[in-house]
Each structure stands twice: as C-alpha cells, then as structure tokens.
Symmetry: C2
Subunit: 431 residues, 2 copies
C-alpha cells in the first residue's frame, strides 16, 4: 500500500489503529508540501498526539503554514516542553505573535520555560508535575490526584516546603501503601536525586540512567522545584546526540530525514564539509607539486601515496571515534591517562603496520625505499593518532563547541596534509 | 584525589555516598588486576549494586577470579536479566559449574532465560514482574504488593487469564484510585502493548520510546507472559548499539573502556581493520604502479591523487552515516526512494565540486588536464556515493550481519580503489 492510500485509509476509518509515532514516520516520507497538507487535514485531537513525534523540520514547516491564532490553539493543547521546543524552532516574529495569542496562564508558563537553554535540564524539562506541601495528608493527596484529568504524566509526587524548595519524593506506590492520615513529610524519601536547571543534557541522561529514574526533578540555585525531565525525553535527547556525533564524524550538517527531504536540502547538508575538504586538498596538490623533482627522480613514491594517506587517516578515525565515546561515557575522564594509553597503543599498531610495509617495499623496490616508506608511515600514523585523540577533547572541553559537520573532515585534512609532508620530507632525505 | 584514595575512603567510611554507577566508573579506570582486587574487597550488599554497572570485560575478569560457589552466591542476589548477562559472558564450563551451584528455583528461572538470543526481547527481559489473575480483587492485590520486599521493580501489574495469557495491565495509579472490592479485570486497560520474545532489541527500544512506556511485556507465540523489558535496560541496549555503529564506521572492534584496558587490548581492537586496509592499499600500490607510463608522461596527475581519493571517500562516508541512521530511525525505510534521493543529491554535490576542480586544474595545467580531473572526480564521487548508500543496507537487510570493525574500512577501500581506477583510466584516455 502506498503512503497516500495508507493516510487516506487512516483518515477515513478511525478504527485502524496507527500509533502517533508510526503515523508521523509515514508523514515524514512525503514531500514538504504534502506533509503540511496531510497534517492540516487531521482532526485536532489526533494532531496534538502526532505533533510531538514529528521532525523539527516538519514542525517548522507546519506552524509557518497556519495562522498565529491556529498555532496558539494547537500549541496550548501540547505539553509545556513540546510547546517550548516548537516556539524555539520558529522565527522570532512568528514566535512572538503566537505567544501573544496564548491564554494568560499558558503564556506565563511558556515564557518562563523559554528562558532556558535548549540543551540543558531547564530546556528539556516540563512543568507538568505534581508537587504538594510537606504537611499534606495522604488521603488529601490521593483525593487531588483523583480529580486530575490527565494522569499519565504522574510518575512521582514531589514534596516541597513553605518556600517551594524540593525536600522529598513520594512514589505512587508509597502513597498506595501509606496510612491515609499520615503526612507526606513522614512517608517521603528525603534523599532526592535532582539537577540544577543549567546542567547539560548529557548529565541529565547519565543521572536518569544511572539511577533508573522515570523522571528527574530540576531545581534552581535555591533548591526550588522548577520542573521535571522525563526518562523518554532524556532518551530522545540522547538519541539525537548520538546521531549528531556520527554526522560530525562524517561531515554532514544536522539533517533529520533523508526520504522526506528535498534533494537540494540533502546537498546543502553535505556540501559545506566537501567544499572545505576541497580547499584542504588543493593545498595538498601544491604540497605534492612542490616535491615534483623528488617524484621525477623516483616515481614509485607516487604509488605509495594512497597507502600512506589511507593508513594514517584510518588510524586517526579510530582514535577520534574512541575519544568521542570515552568523553561521552565518562564525564570525568582522566585526560592524561587516556591520551597516554592511546599513544602507547598507537605506537604498537604503527610498528606492526610500518614493519610490514617496510618489508614489502624493500623486497620490491629496494631497502632504501622500504626505509622511507616504513619510517614515514610510522611517523605519520603516530601523528594522526595523536591529533585525532586530542581534537575531540579540544573541541568539547576547551573550545566548548560542536562544529557540526566540519570537525570530522577537518581532522582528516590535518591528518592527510601532515602525512604527505612527512612522507615527502623523509623520502627527500633518504632517497 | 587519586583513584586509590577515593576507593579507600569509600570503603572505610560508608557515609560518603557514591552511587553504584559512579563507583563502577572509578573501578573501570584501574588496571585489570586491581579492578578484581577492589571488587573482592567490597561487602556483598554493595557489590551486588555495583556489578550491574560494570563493563562486560570487568564482570568477566571478576567472576573468573572467584570460585563457582562464590559466583553462584553473588549471582543469586542479582536481578534475573543481569544474572543471565553475566553467565553468557563466561566460558561454558565455568557457566555450567555456577548454574549447578544455584538454588533449585533460581536455577530453573535462569535456565529458562538463557534460551533467548542476547539481542532480542527475550534476551533483554527480566522475570521480575508482578502478574495477577484477572479475578483478583484490588484489595488483595494491594495486600500482596505490600508484602513484597523489593518494590522498586513494580511499574505495572500485569493481568493474566487461566492459561497465563496476558490480557490486561493495571498501573499503580489505577490501583490506588480503584474501589477495593473491584476485580482487576474490570479496572485493567485491555489494549496492552507487548512484543514477541524473538523481536529484535531495536524494535523493543522503538516501541518503548514511541509509547513512553516504563516497561514492555514480552510474550510467547501463544500470548503467555514471559517477562518484561524495562525502559532503562532498553536505554542501555540503545546506547551500546549507537557506540557499536560508530566503532564499525571507524574500524574498531567492540571495546568498552579505553582507560582501564591494557595497551595490547587496545591495539588488538584496532589492528584487524588496519591490516585489512593494508591489503587493500597494497593493491592500490599496484594499481597506481600499472599506470606508471601515464604518470611518467604527465607527472601532475600524481599531485591530484590525494584530492580525488579524499573527496570521493568523504562523499562515501557521508552517505554511509546517513544510511546507517536512516535504517535505525525507520524500520520500514522505502529503499528505492531512499537510494534515488541519495543518488540525486550525490549528482548535485559532485557537479559543484567537479566543476570547481575542472576550473582550477584547467587554469593551472590546461583544459585537457582539467577535463580529466573534473570528469574522473564526477564519476568517482558518484560511484562512492552509490556503493556507500547501498552497503549498510546490504549488510543489514540482505546479509543480516554486523561485520564489527571491518565494514567501514571495507567501504573506504572499495571507494579508494574505484577512484584510482576511474582516475587513471579517464586520464589515459584524455591525456
């Protein structure tokens, strides 16, 4: 069945149960205009379930295609964190018009959430949580929860003091098992795991995973409860981070969906890194060209260029991937120890590979040439290993940047250029 | 503070609260022998909390370092899914000796879990769940839950019929809000999201995330409840999958921890792909060598070799990363449409890059040479784009293999060799 028929059947006969996420994935396969058309034809009650599952690009298209009033109506029905995510995707004038159209209470809540940086606990959190004063009795808490319409988001009950400070947590199970006249204060777990609103998303994910939490409370500098980050929102943040890291290594700018994207957008996501690489490789043309006389004297040097470039770059790519992962797994990675380990293992593998190439080249083209190949390979592999182990650390820790789509190609260019320079310098000296 | 002091302080003064996962991360930074020594000195009650947070390698070391009797004692105290994970890490004779030392009930449970493949719902699930018969009353269910010692794993109550088939689900909240004389049958949610024990881990992750579940029930072919996969176990499976994909692209064999690993193990994880690459590059030496006369006739051809190899490979790496992600995001990816999009965007970017290089080379070395560079670059970029878009699909869908640590380098070698062949063939014809 084609996508179109699928969607038609779904719209006509509500009985076909398609989960919102499945529906969203089908929508993403359509062209941009079609996506908007399909979304506009969906009843509001279904739409608000589907929107959170859509890609940022589709959300962006969709909300730009409808009026601010309509946007405000839809956005009001979405959970607060989703609301903020969408507003952050839109141009500032559209964003402000939509906010103006929101109801007083929702506008206030949304504005307070918009203050937080997107990749922090504050940016990930939702304000849909249940917090009661420490003096509340179990039976009253249960009574209030019973009255709430939307119950699915209640994972825990947070207990606060007079100043709104988070002082305890009560699970639904604890509530179920407690006597009805007890105060929350006396049944609450006092050792609450929480984060500051400014903590990075990665730290949030780590804490949730390490402690097997369903939701993590977010507090301000005074310990007042601001919101919660749910495990599934954290899971999504983690997934997009992993995808971003792969893209950075491959030199692709952030891109959500290939099948549904326009060809020109795909090209745009890939071109910057390639054009950047082009500049680097033109430099290589001149570097190799400057050793023209060496090459003329001994042409077999040209035969080995792809071998040296490949092996040094492959070593570097390995180190880069290992460093990115080590940084992700351990926020307190002991850098010196890590780099030393990487260098030692680099020395070991480069020795094996260089020895092999020395023997191969010596047998076919003589020992002097073999020595030039082996020595330059040994040097360039270790140099690539060093810079590729260091660069992700420099990006993350020192520069605090994530140069999307460029850092991978940049590292390769640095590795390739240094390889060629080392190769021809060693060869010029030895041959 | 050094790692050793940290650990000593932790052992001596229990009051310093270090979460099990934090402690585990510190342990992983020690050398293998030290890791075992530290773990053996930890009291059993702490140890069983720390073990699930350790890397597979450390678990493996540790359980081989103690007697089967001790192993059985520790393993009995761990959750069932963790128990099975550890047993699967050990050599079969050790495994069988430990199983023999388990108590009758735990032995039976463990043996039934060991039947499932590691990367399926069955392999990820735990048998620690609460299932009651449909006719049970709310008050009796609450009474039984009250009596359970370990309560942290109760997310939902599963409702089964006479034959053990899963027919409904009751959240703790539903239980809290229900009248005490109602039957579970009448308050349960009948539309239960569940998976077959043989479903792949990726599918399990997808379902949990799409439906914001805390735990997903696993059933057999007859719909009987076998176990549950919790959201945090699914999160871990996802994380290790993402790390594996990056490693595969970089040509690194599975490796858990760099700082704690021996240098020789690090070298072993990287060498296979590099030696494999060495074979490929030696082939390249002969390919370039076979065009010796062409090179002698026109030496600037050598200057452009790194440029062509780099740009074609970079295009391929981009496609590979995009394909891996597309396959991960959408289990029903429309292959033909996907490949066509990739090819079209490839044509676009290669045209831009090739045109640029044509102009550059024409200006410096003449139009004939420029045409050779531009045309061969255009052809080789598109060829690399095609094979790199296809290969991950061939690996996953057709071969159903995950050639850890080799597929990335294999793709690069294919790209590099085809680039060189195309380059020299085009150059021989045009110059």
């Amino acid at each position: 069945m084609k996508v179109h028929e699928y969607l038609r059947v779904f719209r006509e006969r509500r009985k076909i149960m398609l989960r919102p996420a499945e529906f969203a994935r089908i929508v993403e396969r359509l062209d941009a205009e079609e996506r908007v058309r399909v979304l506009r034809s969906i009843p509001l009650e279904n739409l608000i379930e589907i929107i959170p599952e859509l890609s940022d690009r589709t959300k962006h298209f969709f909300f730009l295609s409808i009026s601010s009033k309509q946007s405000a109506k839809i956005i009001s029905l979405l959970p607060p964190d989703e609301r903020v995510d969408i507003l952050q995707l839109l141009p500032s004038n559209t964003r402000l018009r939509i906010i103006d159209n929101l109801d007083e209470k929702i506008r206030k809540e949304t504005l307070s959430l918009l203050k937080y940086e997107p990749f922090t606990a504050g940016g990930l959190m939702t304000t849909q949580f249940v917090a009661f004063h420490k003096s509340m009795k179990v039976k009253d808490a249960i009574k209030i929860i019973r009255k709430r319409k939307k119950k699915h988001y209640i994972y825990y009950i947070y207990v606060i003091d007079d100043e709104g400070k988070l002082i305890g947590i009560v699970s639904m199970r604890d509530l179920l098992l407690a006597k009805s006249n007890e105060k929350l204060e006396s049944i609450m777990e006092k050792n609450v795991i929480k984060v500051l609103y400014s903590s990075p998303a990665r730290e949030v994910v780590r804490i949730i995973k390490d402690n097997n939490l369903l939701a993590l409370p977010v507090v301000d500098g005074d310990g007042r409860l601001l919101g919660i980050v749910t495990a599934d929102d954290a899971m999504e943040a983690m997934e997009s981070e992993a995808a971003r890291e792969m893209d950075v290594m491959a030199g692709v700018s952030p891109l959500e969906n290939v099948v549904g994207a326009k060809v020109i957008s795909l090209a745009k996501a890939r071109l910057p890194a390639l054009l950047f690489g082009l500049m680097g490789t033109i430099l290589m043309v001149y570097i190799v060209g400057s050793f023209e006389t060496t090459l003329q004297k001994y042409l077999p040097l040209a035969f080995f260029m792809p071998l040296l470039v490949y092996l040094s770059d492959a070593t570097g790519t390995q180190s880069e991937s290992m460093t990115i992962r080590a940084l992700a797994l351990d926020p307190h990675l002991p850098l010196l120890k890590y780099i030393l380990k990487q260098l030692k293992s680099g020395l070991m593998i480069s020795s094996v590979v260089a020895l092999f190439c020395f023997i191969f080249a010596s047998v076919v083209w003589g020992i002097k040439f073999g020595m030039a190949i082996g020595l330059s390979l040994f040097l360039s592999m270790n140099f690539s290993n060093l810079i590729a182990s260091l660069l992700p650390i420099v990006y993350k820790r020192l520069l605090k940047i994530d140069p999307a789509g460029i850092s991978g190609p940049l590292d390769t260019i640095l590795s390739d250029i240094s390889t060629l320079v080392i190769y021809f310098l060693v060869a010029s000296l030895l041959i």
